[in-house]
Amino acid sequence: MATTQLRIPSDHRFLEPAQVLIERIGRIAGVEEDELTSLSIAVMELVKNGMEHGNGLDPEKRVSIAMEALPGRVVVEVEDEGSWVPAEGIGLEPAEGEALMADRGRGILIARNLARWLDFSLSPEGRTRVTLIWPLS
């Protein structure tokens, strides 16, 4: 089965349609019914980051979401138009103390904890690409 791909402008109004699509494609790919919400939360954290941090909410810039079902797993790639290299170990540990009450900074932590595997790279064109792997049971 070929990859399903969605590209949306960096505008918050497109988040909900994307979330709905991700769950439906996840279902077709074989993700369990009660895991679909977690899948879409994890992916949408990355999509929102792409829109906000990668593309600065410029509606002329797009975020791409590619989903592919492979044996035993679904691979999701989220790309934006920036070229970001994250700090080592980003989102591995929850904030502590003062930082616990920050307004933001929980997206990657959540995506990492919900998915089995998260990886940051640059696409061949040098763009920020976050790869998420969702295991199928």
């Binding site: 918050h12 109004r13 988040l15 909900e16 979330q19 919400t37 977690s38 879409s40 939360i41 949408m44 954290e45 929102k48 929850p94 904030a95 502590e96 616990l100 009450m101 920050a102 307004d103 933001r104 929980r106 997206g107 932590l109 959540i110 904890n113 919900l114």
Partner: protein
């Protein structure tokens, strides 16, 4: 997303429902918290029972509401977080900050204690 408000004596119950997904609607939630402070209401119970989808942006606005209300000398507690949302509170360790309830009566009474 929808926001509804109930008042029980001096306790404001803010009920969120639907998808809390980001953008302008988060500003609305923020304003709902601010409005409690403006009306001098210090006891706020946030009912998440109807929330079908939420991510870190939703958590962020809840944390900022908690801070706003605490600074004004009040308390915000959480009611009926679904299993998925509860999981987000655990992952982020926010569970250590918020008192959470699954029974509305019990939650309301806890403000009296």
């Amino acid at each position: 997303m929808k926001i509804a408000e109930d008042l029980f004596d001096d306790i404001a119950v803010i009920r969120l429902s639907g998808k809390v997904i980001g953008g302008p609607e988060l500003v609305e939630v923020k304003e709902a918290f601010q409005s409690q402070v403006n009306h001098d209401r210090r006891n706020v119970l946030l009912d998440l029972g109807g929330v079908t989808w939420m991510d870190s942006s939703g958590l962020g606005v809840i944390v900022s509401g908690h801070t706003t209300i605490s600074r004004a000398g009040g308390t915000m507690k959480i009611l009926n977080a679904t299993k998925k949302i509860h999981e987000l509170f655990i992952i982020t360790k926010l569970i250590t900050v918020f008192e959470t309830y699954t029974d509305e009566k019990e939650a309301l009474e806890s403000f009296q204690a």
